[in-house]
């Protein structure tokens, strides 16, 4: 209770710096949350696109389907291999297009045995296709989605940039909190010295500063949630009207994001407050 009162008093005693940190942290958290939600959304899109990318491997007549399926499975970067014997392929074809049924009965099955290979990493698809093409008994390979592949590459670059931005925003908040705590310590130098000289434990001395940092970041996180969550829902709603196929985040996902932000705020406030006060306490103590 004492520590909380001291923390609140400290915020009150230097309102300009407290407000500056609060604003900085709130802006950082809002951007961080929006960028985080965007990234999460991007991951969903990438995941959906990646799931649809696969290589069709056509075998030469007489090639051993089972042996090649095993050989393909052993290649690096392969997630799944599905074997489609040519009879099954024909059945699938005629089921999809009943007009071909008559023609198929007149001719010998022209379709080859086929392997459908799903890569672990969609961007490595062309490389995997080349490796599959080199297997003995393979007549040819095909994969579609070249545009999707390009988009995936761009999306990965965007993700890296966004992660760097998130890191910078976290550091910005962290150092803002540390700066405010330092100011708080400067304002209470005499008090801290007296505290130390009358035998206050480190915990008693540090706790108000840790709480001060925590209050600042938690408050900033609440402000950020109040801005970013409705903002995302509005944007996602608007986007869904034009691009209905794009996956968006639901209420449960947004709740998870909110908890994650609060946890991050807790961590930044506590650790920032603790590190700053611990470092500067020695200077004060002399």
């Amino acid at each position: 209770m004492y520590a909380l009162r001291e923390a609140l008093l400290a915020l009150w005693r230097h309102p300009v710096s407290s407000l500056a940190t609060l604003t900085t942290a709130a802006v950082s958290f809002t951007l961080l949350l929006l960028v985080g939600l965007f990234l999460w959304n991007l991951d969903r899109v990438i995941g959906a696109a990646e799931g649809e990318l696969e290589v069709a491997v056509f075998l030469k007549p007489g090639a051993d389907l089972a042996a090649l399926q095993e050989a393909a499975r052993r290649l690096p970067g392969v997630a799944r291999v599905r074997a489609i014997p040519k009879d099954e392929a024909l059945k699938e074809l005629t089921a999809a297009d009943p007009y071909l049924k008559g023609a198929a009965e007149l001719l010998e099955n022209p379709l080859p045995d086929t392997l459908i290979v799903t890569p672990r990493d969609a961007v490595a698809l062309p490389e995997l296709a080349r490796a599959l093409g080199r297997l003995p008994g393979v007549d040819g390979v095909e994969y579609g989605g070249r545009l999707t592949l390009e988009l995936l590459r761009v999306a990965r670059g965007v993700r890296l940039g966004a992660l760097a931005l998130i890191l910078m925003l976290i550091l910005n908040t962290f150092f803002s909190v540390m700066g405010t705590i330092r100011l708080s310590i400067e304002n209470r130098k005499d008090e801290l010295e007296v505290m130390q000289l009358v035998g206050a434990s480190r915990g008693t001395i540090l706790l108000p500063f840790v709480l001060e940092g925590l209050l600042l970041t938690l408050l900033a996180a609440l402000v950020a949630l109040a801005i970013a969550i409705p903002g995302y829902r509005y944007l996602a709603g608007a986007l869904a009207r034009f691009l209905a196929f794009l996956p968006t985040l639901g209420p449960a996902d947004l709740a998870t994001a909110a908890y994650a932000l609060l946890l991050l705020a807790f961590f930044l406030g506590t650790v920032g407050g603790w590190l700053s006060s611990r470092a500067h306490l020695k200077e004060v103590a002399g």
């Binding site: 005499d190 010295e193 035998g199 008693t204 002399g286």
Partner: protein, 227 residues
Amino acid sequence: MIHLHRVSLHYPRTKTLALYEVNLEIKRGEFVFLVGPSGAGKSSLLNLVLRRYHPTRGAVYVEGVNLRKLRGHRVALYRRRVGVVFQDHRLLPRRTVEENLAFVLRVRGVPRREWPERIARVLRTVGLSHKKRAFPEALSVGEAQRVAVARALIGEPQILLADEPTGNLDRDNALAVLELFKLAHAKGTTVVFATHARELVEAYPQRVVALKAGQLVADRRPGRMEA
């Protein structure tokens, strides 16, 4: 109780030799005046006993414990046994007299139910019961210093260190403050009182340790003299 063994203290920043080869033994319950001109090393010696500084050479022992070896929480525990009064009262300006005293009890973990009684008792001792709700800025210099003494006494320390506590006071106030230290001494507290006020030393004939340029130059006990 307090033993300084060949203690030297050198301040690297100012390149000052504050103390040189000081040997001093203070017994439990003793009252020692630490005298000497400004810069003689009185404050440095007190700060060593308070464990604010470590000696550059030698060691400071309190009850057989080398203060240099105290770490972390043990430093706080040690300081709870020591009361300290400075020349400037160093009261917390944003807190009332009562809150300044409660602050010590709080940081020392004294149960809250004991606070009112202990605060009232110590304020009676220093004659300032009527000022308990006053802020330091509303006190006279003498009153503020008496509150500072009360703050040092409220923790019932075994050792009481005073660094020129009457330096800013007129003679009457200085003697009034000395009376408070005499009371603590009478209760068995070990007192180390740094001063350059001759009238105080004469008003309470006790052991006098003289420092000059960081060296112990005289150690006079009531009735005899040692150099």
